[in-house]
Each structure stands twice: as structure tokens, then as C-alpha cells.
């Protein structure tokens, strides 16, 4: 990836731009196909498998990995851990883009996307957990948007309205944590209605708790992972404060993640014990479950802990990437892989290449927008007029 940043001698034929161009073009074709020939023309979904990759990856993973927004802003503004300050803006931006892309992906997945406001404005199905998810995602997207606006206002030089929004920081952060608690957990609770379809090792009365707790370390890992990438490719847009604070942020979140993951393992164990599913662990599905829990939770948790003890950022970064993969695996297990496990193999769902292509397209769109914003607005650096280290200018 080459990014020389100046508008005068920008090179267009960089490998990054070529790959992105191809993906976006393919995405445009898939979009046209989806909206002219129907969901069936681009996906492998069928009547037994109503939810596929677009829900399992785009929605469930998208929301879990965007948890960095509420985790970081809560750490900084509620728990008063000021050293996380320079990580707040990139985390809020990632969260906002994550949620915006989740909503975009839903436009592909639902049959009549123009009716997506219906559950909130037309007919409220309050007995549905999906209603709760929809309402919270709608409200949280609004909160994230407002939380991000100070960066845009600084860029545009609108000082008064920026000052107004900054005053709302604490309330917005608390509101964000409440909404995140609700919808992160409800995404897990969605599957509680189908005990006959989800494999008993993944089905649990604790599904909402699992989803909420795992969203915490998903968010922390994503902040570390994203910061690793940003340091490699967008380093020039960072100021000294960001550079100075970044290792501390990584080590701080690594330590927290190691603890939360240990707690998560504990409640997973309790879940197995309460339902008395020990004997299922020796089956084929049990092995797969252990791969997820030991390989993608216990192992990276240990790696985080070692990274913190040795103050080894390489360990921490690898652990973060590994944990992100583990979250993706967990969400896909619950929504796709261990869901409908009882169906014969020819009735099982495997995503089509076009479904995967659409998901890649949406992720790529996110990266492009992230880069567009971070190379222009004060996200990875502070705006000189509003330095956080001058006491009267507490910026978001």
C-alpha cells in the first residue's frame, strides 16, 4: 500500500488502489444482481437455512468487532483511564463505520430493505429480540455518529457546535454502554428461540452473557489490531501523543483482554457444567468446540498475558489478531456452522462465492472510508486548536 497523502502528486496505479478498484467493481455488479434478480440469485440460502454469511459475518461479527467504540470510550471517560484518550477517536470511527456497514449489509440480506425502519416507526414487534437489536443498533448508530462529529467539526472549523457536542461526552458514553450491553447480548439471545436447531454445546441459557462478555475482548483486540495496521500504513497521520500513547494502550487493553477472556472461559465452563454436556466434548462437534474455546480463546488469552508480562508488543499484536479470528469463528459457529447441525449434509448451507464477494466488498468499502477520513480529519492526531492536554479543551 502506497499512500503519499499529498493531493498534488498522488499516484493512482498503486497495488492498493487496483485491488480495491477490482473489489468495488465486483461489488457493484453483485449489488445490481441482488436487487434485480433477488436474494436467491446471489446466495445459497434456502428455506432450511434462512440466515447465512451476511448475518453470520456481516451482522454478528460486524457488531462484535465494532465493540471497540464503547469499550474504549468507557475506559477513557467513565473509568477515567486517560492514557486511552488517543485511542478513543479511531475506536469511535471504527465502531461508527462498523455499524454503518452492518446496516448497509442488512440492505442486501433482508427481502425489502426499504422497510427496515418499519420495526421502529410502523409496527413494533416488542416480543422479538430482533426488535431490541434493531432499536438499539438504530439508537447506537446515532450515538456513534454524534460522538464522532467533533472530529468532523474540527476539520470544518465549526467551533461552537463542537463545544456543544463535547459537553455531551459523558452522557453519550453512558448511553452507548447501555445500548451496547443490550444489543451485543441480544444478538446471542436471538438464537435462544431455536434450541432444536443449534448444537447443544453452543446453545445455552447464557448465550446473551457470552455474547456480551466476548464483545468486550473483541473490541479491545480490534483496537489493538486496527492500531497495528494504522501504524504500518497511516503512521504519518499520527501525532507524537498518539505515537507515545499507543504502546500503553496496547498493553493496557492486552491486560484487560487477558482477564476478561479468563472470565469468559470460566463462564463457558460453567455453562457446560450446568447443562451437563461434558460427554458431548468427546464427539466430533466437541472437538470443534474445543478448537474454538482452547485454540481461539485460551491460547490468545495466554499470549496476551505473556505479552503484558514481557512487555512484548509483538505477542500482544498476534494475540489480538488471533482473538479477532476467534470471535469470527465463534459467531459463525453459532449462526452457520453449528446451526442446523442435525440436517443431512446435502441440506447444509455453504456460502456462495457471490455471498463471500459481497461481504469482502462491504469490508473493503469500510477500509476505503476509514482511510479517506483518517487522512483528512483529526482522528489519529489532535487538531492543533483543540489539544486535549490543555485543560479547558477536553476533546472527544
Amino acid at each position: 500500500m502506497t499512500d503519499n497523502g499529498t493531493h498534488t502528486d498522488r499516484k493512482w496505479w498503486t497495488p492498493f488502489n487496483v485491488i480495491v478498484g477490482i473489489i468495488l467493481a465486483a461489488g457493484a455488479i453483485l449489488t445490481v444482481m441482488r436487487f434485480t434478480q433477488g436474494i436467491g440469485a446471489v446466495t445459497n440460502l434456502d428455506n432450511n437455512n434462512a440466515w447465512g454469511l451476511w448475518i453470520g459475518f456481516d451482522l454478528l461479527c460486524g457488531v462484535a468487532l465494532a465493540a471497540g467504540g464503547y469499550v474504549t470510550s468507557a475506559a477513557c471517560y467513565i473509568f477515567g483511564l486517560k492514557r486511552f484518550h488517543s485511542a478513543v477517536r479511531p475506536a469511535i470511527l471504527t465502531a461508527f463505520l462498523g455499524y454503518a456497514l452492518v446496516v448497509l449489509a442488512l440492505h442486501y440480506d433482508v427481502g425489502r430493505p426499504w422497510r427496515l425502519p418499519y420495526p421502529i416507526f410502523v409496527s413494533q414487534g416488542t416480543s422479538s429480540l430482533l426488535f431490541e437489536v434493531g432499536l438499539c443498533v438504530f439508537l447506537y448508530l446515532t450515538v456513534l455518529f454524534i460522538e464522532f462529529t467533533p472530529a468532523a467539526f474540527e476539520w470544518l472549523g465549526l467551533k461552537k457546535i463542537r463545544a456543544l457536542v463535547v459537553k455531551l461526552t459523558l452522557i453519550l458514553t453512558i448511553f452507548g454502554v447501555v445500548l451496547s450491553t443490550l444489543h451485543q447480548s441480544s444478538l446471542g439471545a436471538l438464537f435462544m428461540i431455536a434450541p432444536s436447531k443449534l448444537h447443544p454445546l453452543w446453545y445455552s441459557g447464557y448465550l446473551p452473557v457470552y455474547f456480551f462478555i466476548s464483545s468486550m475482548f473483541a473490541g479491545m483486540s480490534m483496537v489493538i489490531f486496527e492500531s497495528t495496521l494504522a501504524h504500518r500504513y497511516l503512521s504519518r497521520h499520527m501525532d507524537d501523543t498518539h505515537h507515545r500513547e499507543a504502546p500503553g494502550v496496547a498493553l493496557g487493553f492486552a491486560k484487560a483482554a487477558a482477564f476478561v477472556m479468563a472470565g469468559y472461559l470460566g463462564i463457558k465452563l460453567i455453562g457446560i457444567a450446568i447443562d451437563d454436556h461434558w460427554r458431548l466434548l468427546t464427539t466430533g462437534w466437541g472437538m470443534w468446540y474445543l478448537v474454538e474455546v482452547i485454540g481461539f480463546v485460551a491460547f490468545p488469552a495466554l499470549l496476551f498475558a505473556m505479552g503484558v508480562r514481557e512487555r512484548n508488543l509483538i505477542f500482544v499484536r498476534w494475540a489480538a489478531a488471533w482473538t479477532v479470528l476467534g470471535i469470527v469463528l465463534n459467531r459463525l459457529n453459532i449462526s452457520v456452522i453449528a446451526f442446523n447441525y442435525h440436517l443431512p449434509s446435502h441440506e447444509r448451507y455453504v456460502p456462495s462465492l457471490m455471498e463471500i464477494g459481497t461481504s469482502v466488498f462491504i469490508v473493503t468499502l469500510g477500509i476505503v472510508i476509514y482511510r479517506f477520513i483518517t487522512t483528512r480529519m483529526p482522528v489519529l492526531h489532535e487538531h492543533p486548536d483543540y489539544s486535549a492536554h490543555s485543560p479547558e479543551q477536553k476533546s472527544i
Binding site: G38, A41, P119, I174, V178, A189, S196
Partner: protein, 354 residues
């Protein structure tokens, strides 16, 4: 007293009988509310032992629901060789299960008493009617397909190939016909008496009567009496239901019961989280403030201390200087006296002179 004895006793009676009789508007307190289905709602009993696999119910279903004709005609019984399920334009299917003799099972929406699909729908597009049918309103449907995920019987189908207005489709129990006082299309057409319609209570009583009368013919279970909280479609079978392709592991909990726990957590989170988080914020703020105060106190203390030390040093210096000054004065005085003594050898005389 504004309340007479009779009124008071009558009130007690209403309190006691209210919940038992299900009078609307009476307080239920914390009692376990159980929904046993709408009274006198319509039901269908499918006696699997009587089904001959003629597919007449399928063709009747297509006719009364104005569904497009399938590729192979309903006369063609070879389709029974493959396992089929309901589809976007097929609301009911008959499947053959091979035993010593072939056994035929009709599948369609079971019209649960407390449907998973209706409970899962976030726009209330699916609804259980008091007449018994679970009906779908395409004017509200967003197409999220959570109903299909939720349905334990894998019944709702989706029009995946419609780009503009895809619908969820499923058996309607011929709700419009029921409202007209007619029987569902499939029940009307069945030549073998394998489908009987009536109120749920009647059919349950009839089914158990059959089981008691012909214990060798039926397994002692009416499928749908309790499955997923009970369904409006009931089944009798000669083989264990697991062997005719029906799930026996669904349990008796209704779908709303499965999700009531997480839903009830919502108000608690909304109520408690802001209080707790504001508390955490206040504590961290206060800690900061105290740390700041302590720092200031320590600084003030240090300043104070050094001031005192300086003062003490000043004091000693001053004393020393005073002492030195005193001794210098003494010395000067002494010296002056000595000088004076040397100039005037008899000072005593001069005093006497005065």
C-alpha cells in the same frame, strides 16, 4: 364506612375467582401465566395411520390458495420417493416413510398456540388469530426471515427469487374459509378420513379416545398436545413420532418462554447501568480530586516544613548573632570601663563630691 359488608365479601370473591376464571382486567400478581390456547379455536387432527398418500390434500391446497401448478401433476405419486418440505408455493407436502408397510405423513404449518414465528417477528407480521390460524401480513414483512430461523418445524418458506417484493409463505389453515364457517381445503378433500377438523378440545378428547379404544394401533401420544407449548395441528401415529420424521426433542416450552429471560433483562440494564456507570465515573472523578487534594496538601506541607526549617535556622542564626552582638557590647562596655578606669584612677571620689 364507605364500604358495606356485602360489597367487601363480593370483592373478595372476585379477587379469588378472577384469576381462576381469567376475567380480563383482574390482577394476576406474580402468578405463572399460562396460555392454553384460545377457547374454541379451530384445530385439525391428522391420523397418520389412515393416510394413503394420494396427494389429494396437496392439490386441494393449491386450488383453494390459488398457488401456481407444480411441474409434475398431483396424480404423480413418484414424488413420494423423495423427501420434500414446504416451499414458497407449496404449503403442504405428504412424505412417505418406509416401514414394513409405507407410512404417509402430511406436513404443513402446525399453527402453534404460542408461535415461535410470531414471537420472533419484529414487525408483528405474523399473528395467532383467536380462530386458530397463524396468519401472515405481507404489508408489514421486512423479509428478515427470523421467523424461519425460529420455527422448530422448519415450515415458513421464502420467495428467494423475487427481487422486489419477496414474501414469507406458509399454510394459513385456510383462515378465510374458517371465517366463512368452512373447513380447511385439505380436510374437505381427504378421502381417507386422515384429516379431521374441529375445536382443539374436541379433537384432543377424540384423539385420546382413539388411543384408548385401539391401544395396539397407536402410540400413546398426541403429537402437538404439548410440543412447543402446544399446536393447533394434532397428530396420531402408529409408529413412534421420531420414526415418521417428526422431532421428539422439541420440549414443551413455548417459544416466548425461551426468550422471556433475556427480554426481561432489558429494563434492568436500562435502569441499573446508568446509575452504576455514573457511580463509577463519580468514583474515578473523586479519586482524581482526592489525589489532587493530597498532592496539594503534600506540597503545602512540604512548603510549610521548609518554611519552618528556614525559620528555625533563622532563629538560631539570629540568636547566635544576638549573642555575638551582646558579647561584643559587653566587650566594648568592659573595654570602655577599663579605659575610663585608666583615665580616672578614683571614680568613687567624684561620686562623693556630688
Amino acid at each position: 364506612m364507605g364500604i358495606s359488608r356485602r360489597k367487601f365479601i363480593g370483592g373478595l370473591g372476585a379477587l379469588a375467582l378472577g384469576p381462576a376464571m381469567g376475567i380480563p382486567g383482574t390482577a394476576r400478581g406474580a402468578s405463572n401465566k399460562e396460555f392454553a390456547g384460545w377457547p374454541d379455536s379451530q384445530s385439525v387432527l391428522h391420523d397418520i395411520t389412515k393416510c394413503i398418500g394420494c396427494r389429494k390434500c396437496e392439490s386441494a391446497c393449491h386450488r383453494v390458495n390459488h398457488l401456481p401448478d407444480p411441474e409434475t401433476s398431483f396424480e404423480d405419486l413418484t414424488v413420494l420417493d423423495q423427501k420434500r418440505r414446504t416451499d414458497a408455493d407449496i404449503f403442504t407436502v405428504v412424505n412417505r416413510v418406509d416401514n414394513i408397510l409405507p407410512v404417509f405423513v402430511k406436513t404443513q404449518c402446525n399453527h402453534c398456540l404460542e408461535p415461535a414465528c410470531a414471537s420472533a417477528c419484529f414487525v408483528k407480521a405474523l399473528e395467532k388469530t383467536p380462530e386458530g390460524a397463524v396468519v401472515y401480513n405481507e404489508k408489514l414483512c421486512v423479509g428478515c426471515r427470523y421467523c424461519m430461523v425460529a420455527c422448530p418445524f422448519n415450515i415458513p418458506a421464502y420467495e428467494y427469487h423475487k427481487a422486489l417484493a419477496p414474501r414469507v409463505t406458509k399454510c394459513t389453515m385456510c383462515h378465510p374459509r374458517i371465517l366463512e364457517g368452512k373447513r380447511p381445503g385439505c380436510v374437505e378433500e381427504c378421502p381417507a378420513g386422515a384429516l379431521i377438523s374441529g375445536t382443539r378440545d374436541e379433537l384432543l378428547a377424540y384423539a385420546w379416545d382413539r388411543i384408548r379404544t385401539y391401544p395396539e394401533r397407536y402410540v400413546s401420544h398426541v403429537y402437538g398436545e404439548h410440543e412447543m407449548g402446544g399446536t393447533s395441528w394434532l397428530y396420531l401415529s402408529g409408529l413412534p413420532f421420531g420414526q415418521v420424521g417428526m422431532r421428539e426433542d422439541l420440549g414443551t416450552k413455548s417459544a416466548p418462554e425461551l426468550t422471556s429471560g433475556p427480554l426481561s433483562a432489558v429494563p434492568i440494564v436500562v435502569g441499573l447501568w446508568p446509575v452504576l456507570l455514573t457511580g463509577v465515573y463519580a468514583i474515578s472523578k473523586r479519586k482524581e480530586k482526592i489525589a489532587e487534594q493530597e498532592k496539594q496538601a503534600a506540597v503545602a506541607d512540604a512548603v510549610d516544613q521548609s518554611k519552618k526549617q528556614a525559620q528555625a535556622r533563622m532563629e538560631t542564626l539570629r540568636k547566635k548573632w544576638e549573642q555575638e552582638k551582646q558579647s561584643a557590647i559587653n566587650f566594648e562596655v568592659k573595654k570602655a570601663l577599663e579605659d575610663a578606669a585608666a583615665k580616672d584612677p578614683e571614680p568613687g571620689q567624684s561620686k562623693e563630691d556630688e
